[in-house]
């Protein structure tokens, strides 16, 4: 069922299902090292389907929801711009091409993964991938840790220590810290 009230950019024509599928396929196959920058580029800068603010809001919602952020985003975006069928095609556009590519890579790895050369190359890439993730965390953490200190950085450090140092299961850490953190945010309003 289409929901016209959910499309704030009323002047912009609703993209066809084919356009939605094509856009998310392009985002997906371009998105080396994470597809988020490509999704923003496509939707805000190239197609102009959303303003910067609309995109940020939709992505914040996707981050709030459990599960893979960009998968959630494709559902939120597809639903808003094409109803339930829109959500199906954006999700398919996002997931099917990398699914095929990664299975091919997986087959190659299972067959040749014990080869010295590939394994040595992968050890270098893995080290770089870990560094890339550290940089992303630093960028995300900078605003929170540079502002005046309140409970938020403490919660972040506790979550980090619980999973990384203590090796507690993620669901347990989440179930304990999330209600505390939401409660603190509630009283800080």
């Amino acid at each position: 069922m289409p929901n016209p009230e959910a499309a704030p950019g009323a002047t912009i024509e609703r993209p066809s299902l084919y356009e939605l599928f094509k856009a998310f396929t392009i985002v997906s196959v371009s998105g080396f090292g994470g597809a988020l920058p490509w999704a923003r580029r496509m939707i805000v800068e190239q197609r102009r389907w959303m303003t910067t603010e609309e995109f940020n809001e939709a992505f914040a919602l996707s981050q709030f929801l459990p599960g893979p952020n960009l998968v959630n985003f494709s559902v939120v975006f597809g639903l808003r711009f094409g109803g339930p069928f829109g959500a199906v095609v954006t999700l398919a556009g996002l997931m099917v091409p990398p699914l095929v590519i990664v299975i091919i890579l997986g087959v190659l790895y299972e067959r040749f993964g014990d080869l010295e050369v590939l394994s040595r190359m992968l050890s270098g890439i893995t080290a770089a991938a870990a560094g890339l993730l550290i940089a992303v965390v630093a960028k995300m953490a900078a605003p929170m840790f540079l502002k005046q200190w309140n409970s938020a950085p403490v919660i972040a450090i506790l979550a980090f220590a619980g999973v990384a140092i203590m090796h507690w299961p993620l669901p347990l850490v989440f179930a304990v810290l999330a209600p505390v953190s939401i409660g603190l945010a509630w009283f800080k309003r």
Partner: protein, 175 residues
């Protein structure tokens, strides 16, 4: 653990996805704990390699579950793991997206959003720690991680180039 691998893959990833606030990267330590320590599906090294392949592949990083599924139970395992990881949360996203905009300025919504951000950040930080720990077997690998972190933080260079350099250094036999 007598259940079939497919049931285990689906059930485990479906459960994990519903707790994975902060996205696939925040769930990496838990995937590692289950796949390596609890289920014994693979070695530490194989897990790190799969993360590297998932990073190498275009598309969302959640695609690592496809590789884990493939490793455990072939093509069927790959599909079952992917559907398990994405299916339930897509249904949740579908439902919540309908009501979320309606409560845009509601205090409870603002508090939930503000409260979840630091938890999610800490979990993603833990992912980075666990991966660096698995990948950095010697001082050279540690140096690649450190240099990558600094370069990616300070510049807007395409990460693919850094991966290429890391791969070549690995190939040269230093790591």
């Amino acid at each position: 653990m007598n259940e079939s691998p497919l049931t285990a893959l689906f059930g485990y990833f479906a459960m994990l996805s519903l707790f994975a606030v902060g996205g696939a990267n925040a769930a990496i330590p838990e995937m590692h704990r289950i796949a390596v320590e609890v289920m014994g599906w693979m070695t530490n090294r194989q897990f790190a390699d799969m993360f590297a392949i998932a990073q190498l592949s275009p598309g969302p990083n959640v695609i690592i579950v496809t590789l884990i599924g493939y490793h455990v139970a072939g093509i069927t395992g790959a599909l079952v793991a992917t559907v398990g990881m994405c299916g339930p949360t897509c249904l949740v996203a579908f439902g919540v997206a309908h009501v979320w905009d309606r409560f845009k300025d509601a205090p409870w919504r603002i508090a939930i959003q503000a409260g979840l951000v630091p938890v999610s950040l800490g979990l993603i930080g833990a992912s980075a720690f666990v991966l660096a720990h698995a990948a950095d077997n010697n001082v050279y690998a540690g140096a690649i991680t450190a240099v990558t972190a600094v370069v990616a933080f300070a510049t807007r260079i395409n990460p693919l180039w850094i991966f290429a350099v890391g791969g070549l250094l690995g190939l040269s036999g230093w790591l």
